[in-house]
Structures are given as C-alpha cells and as structure tokens.
Point group: C2
Chain length 325, copies 2
DNA sequence: TTGAAAGCGCTAACAA
DNA sequence: TTGTTAGCGCTTTCAA
C-alpha cells in the first residue's frame, strides 16, 4: 500500500546523472556545472522530490531539530516565549522538538531523548540541567542555552531579561508617583526569575520582601490577605510577576476596599494580557520575548560552529509599560 | 573532538553476540534466549547505550515523532490544549514536533516538512488541510487528525468539543436564571469553533447573533459598544469564547454601568484563567482538553494500524462552570 | 536461537 | 566537473 516515496536516486535517473550530483546540487555543497545543476533542479521539481531528513540527519550526524524544554506551567508569559522561540527556530529552517518536563528527573531523560535525535541544539526554559547532562551534550556537540535561569556550567549560554534594570525601572516609577515606602512581592521557593528579581530589589531597597505562597493569581490574593491584614504599610509595590499582581490588586480592591494608583501604586512583570484589561490597567514591565528568542538561536548557532567559545550571558532590556496603577 | 557515541555494534561486541541479537532484544522483536537477552541488556546498560532514533526511523520508515500544528494565536485555551497534547504524546513515548503556521500556505509547506521526518501522525489545531496534502499523508501512511475543526476528507478523524451541547447548557442556564431575551455573541469571519457555536445557537434560538470584529478582548469591547449603544435589549448572553466575554463584560460594566448577574447574565466558553479572577467570576463552559488530547492520540494510533478505517468524528463533553454571571 | 548480509536514503572522500 | 564507493546505525529477512 504505502507507496515508496521519491528518492535522490529517482531524481538522478530522471536527470541522467549520479546521485552524488543530486546531493551536491540540492545541498549546495561541492561544485556542479550550471547546466547539470538546472537539470537536477528540474528533475527534482518534476518528481516532487523531498529530501528524507532522517537519512540526511543520520549521515550528517545532526538533525534539523532543536529541542525546546518547557515545564507544564502554562502562564501567558511562557506561552508567548514559546511561540517566539518556535517562530525563530522555523525562521532558520529548523524544527522545534517540544519537550514538556514535570520533574528534575524528566529533564535528564528528556535530554537523552534529544541526543538520540541528534538535535542541533537545546533551549532550556525550565529546570536546571545538571553538569553531567550538559557534558553529555557537549561531547555530542550539542549546544545548550538556558533562558531566564542561571547555571555554573561554562559551556552553557544564558539569556534572560534584565531583572536588575527592571527593579530600577519599577523603583523609579514608584518614586516618581510619590511613593515613599516601597515593597516587593516575591514568591516563597519561587521560580528563578522571581528570586533574581527579589535579589535585584534588595540590593536597591532594604525592606524585607513579602512572599506569596505560590506563583499564581491565588498566590497574590493570599499574599495580600496577609500583608494588608494589619493595615497598609507601604505605598508602592513591585510584584515578581503579573499573575501575582492581579491577585494582589483584586484582594486589595475587593476585600480591603483600597484604590489602586491612590492608596498605593503597583508594578507587575511580564505584561500578560489581563494587565491591559479595562478592569486592571496595571503598570508593568514587558519582557522582549522576541529578542530573547532571536538571541537564543544566535547563541546556538555560534556555539555549534565553535563548541568551546567562552560562555556568554545576555541580559535583554525590559520596558516599563505605564498604565493606571 | 565529538566523541563517537555508542552503537549497537559496541553492545554486541561487549555482550559477545551479533548486532542482530542486540536489535531484537532492545526492540522486543523476534526471539532471543533468556540468558542472551540478559547479557545484552546488561551490556547495553553498562555502556549507557542509547538507540539512534535517526537510524531506527530511517530503517522503519517511520519516526517516533508526531507533528502538532498550531497557529500563532496564543490564547490561554490554545496553550492548555497544546500542553495536554504534548503530555499525551510523551506519555506514548512519542515526541512532539511543534509547527507554528501563519498562513494557509504555511500549512502546505509544514505538512511536507513533517513528511520528510516521516512523522507517525499529524495533529492539526489550526488551518484546514487541503485534500492533496492529506492524500499525500495517506500515501505515506501518516494519519491525520484535526481538532475543533471539520473537513470533508474521509481519511481524517475529527475531534471537537460538543458545541451543540454547549449551546444547550448555556441556554438552559440562562433560562434558569430567568432570562427571557437571549442573545449570542459570535465573531465576524471568526474561527471554526465560533462559527459552529453560532450555528448550534441558531438552531435553538432564532435571534440574529451579535458579531465581534475579532476574536479577542478588544473584540468583545467593540461588540459591546455597538450592542449596548441603543440600550440593553437582551437579558442573557452567550459568548463564543471567554476573551470576548471578558471584553464584553468590562465594557458593559465600566462604560454602560450595567451589573452582571443583575442587568443581564453572561456565559462564556473555554474557562480561561481570567474568568475565575475575583473581578470577573464569569460563568462559562469548560472544554475537556485532556480528553481531547487523549482521544487524538487514540485515533492516530488506530488509524496507523489501519489507514483506511472509517472516518471518526468525536464530540467531547463540555461542562458548565457556574460562577457569578 | 543465532548470525550474515542486504538495505533504509543520504553524504562525502576520493578517483577519474 | 562528475561518478564510484564507503559508510551513517539500525532492522530484518534468510540460512545455518
């Protein structure tokens, strides 16, 4: 039943040349006479030839696949990042092998899975690859880049939003709004980004941070209940992310009858869609996910050609989006 | 530099057998003596052998890859569906090849890309595959399933939420809340799902639907401005999706000072996170994305073993989530 | 039960 | 510039 598909051999026959010439022509590699080249191209087109990526990859010991590792957590920011990553990958003619991991163990098995496909690179947006895993990749010449997380590993490039700059922008904004007592809302045992933002904050402001029990809308509500119980003792708040900010804002407004941009100012992080809903209009910091994605691909290809180049750490600018909080 | 990785040959040598035995043992295919089997397993484990998926797939003419086609549109519902799809795929030991398409043309090139990787199946969540594309897949024995869309093609299985049931649930709810003049908010030139919901609605209620200019929060606002301008002439509204519902609700509340669950009732669709925020608390219909995903994988594997089985159309139950609207 | 050998479709070194 | 040849690592008849 399953019809055999058209191979380079067929094209070679049709064009009256050898398969080697076909290969050279189609991969633009090695020299072919102009006329021959055209013959091959025509034949390939006529027959509807499609190269078999499996065979090609097997031979080249490298597939046109790039592994993208994400955690189940589907918050709007992550979705946006993923979308931009996939687009960047496809723009370079690669394809995205999407791997969802739940646990640290998953990361290990996933990374070996990816090596079995001889991926051209791995982009980690969740979890922390261990040294052995990475060295395994290095051995196989597979570059690894991590996004919004750090690692000690020397061969792994890092890309993240500039959280320090973010902290500064948030503080400047709050002060400009006249706030005198600033506060930060982080997450207990939170994500790497939340921790970094907290650290960045603490370098600039001494106030001990508020901590939400979890990184979510509900976490923001819970944090607000605790924080506002004894009265409002701050007038400017920076939240580690927008979901927290929305939760905090709602609890403050509906349970404690506080008014945003009046009783206190609030800055979020991520610029997720909800923040621009009429009922929120939250001031926030927008990450440049497109640039992060583009940079990830650049780093991957740089390291592909020179596995041992020095580790690079990129900080991508964030942008303050001023709304009504 | 790049160390050659361990092959079946190495394992064979180490175990003192032929590579054929190694292959049989590891793929559980053909017979191997118990003792030999153990020897091979031990050797493989000791050497840390990992099968080369490229070689295996080339030989079997089929990779452990499943193509997932999505459109750039990252609304929360789509993200959730994607996540569930990827999990289901990984649960079956396959890997997800994620392809983002923008235009109809992209679908075509993407589908041929996928065939080049000899994927074991394709899941389409966006766009409408043409007859030729599908027949190309059929020829290569690649099953195709579409989610939340329909197609005339006989070899393509369809899975979607039961929109008719959804319409009925929404209407029942609104009537139970005492609504007398029901209305539906669809989308002008909208998604397939929105159209189906509209059709389902119209079979039950004769009222001509409202139409938003686009499928988004802003679309909902725009629709509300038009609809409410001349006064409120309905008391129960069903929106094609939650983003529209949020926009409509906000415009109604903030611009027209209407009260939800008082001046009119509103039911959404999708149960996206924003709907359960304190400031919305929208009643909505939840799609069972996990079941949709699981079903997609089932259909794919069924068709894989019998390409010509009759086309199947599955409707997955939706669930009314009653909140405060 | 095991091994030898052919082949999946492609690339690349080498020779012509 | 072209063709020949030897693999890439695996699976799978077919004999032994």
């Amino acid at each position: 039943m399953a019809k055999r598909s058209i191979t380079a051999q067929d094209v070679a026959l049709h064009a009256g040349v050898s398969r080697a010439v076909v290969s050279r022509t189609l991969s633009n590699n090695g020299c072919v006479a102009k006329a021959t080249r055209q013959k091959v191209l025509d034949a390939a087109h006529e027959l509807g030839y499609q190269v078999n990526m499996l065979a090609q990859s097997l031979n080249r010991q490298r597939s046109m696949l790039i592994g993208v590792i994400t955690s189940g957590q589907t918050d709007p920011y992550r979705s946006q990042l993923l979308e931009d990553l996939v687009r960047s990958i496809q723009a370079q003619n690669y394809q995205a092998l999407l791997c969802d991991i739940q646990t640290h163990q998953d990361l290990a098995t996933t990374l070996t899975k990816l090596t079995q496909f001889r991926v051209s690179g791995v982009i980690v947006t969740s979890g922390h690859p261990s040294a052995e895993l990475v060295s395994e990749c290095v051995k196989l010449n597979i570059p690894v880049v991590v996004i919004n997380r750090s690692t000690q590993l020397p061969q792994v490039d890092e890309i993240s939003s500039d959280n320090t700059q973010g902290a500064q922008l948030a503080i400047n904004y709050l002060k400009k709004m006249g706030c005198q007592r600033l506060q930060f809302l982080g997450i207990n045992n939170g994500t790497y980004s939340a921790q970094i933002r907290q650290t960045a904050w603490q370098r600039l402001e001494p106030t001990p941070p508020l901590l939400a029990p979890e990184s979510s809308y509900e976490g923001g509500i819970a944090a607000a209940r605790v924080a506002l119980q004894g009265g409002l003792n701050f007038d400017g708040l920076w939240c580690a992310n927008d979901l927290l900010a929305c939760g905090f804002a709602d609890c403050a407004r509906f349970e404690f009858k506080l008014k945003l941009a009046q009783d206190f100012y609030l800055v979020g992080f991520d610029d997720i869609p909800s923040t621009h809903f009429v009922s929120y209009q939250l001031t926030t910091l927008r990450q440049n996910t497109r640039q992060i994605a583009a940079l990830a691909l650049s780093r991957l290809s740089e390291r592909a050609s020179a596995m041992t180049v020095e580790k690079r750490i990129d900080k991508v600018d964030v942008k303050l989006i001023i709304r009504n909080s």
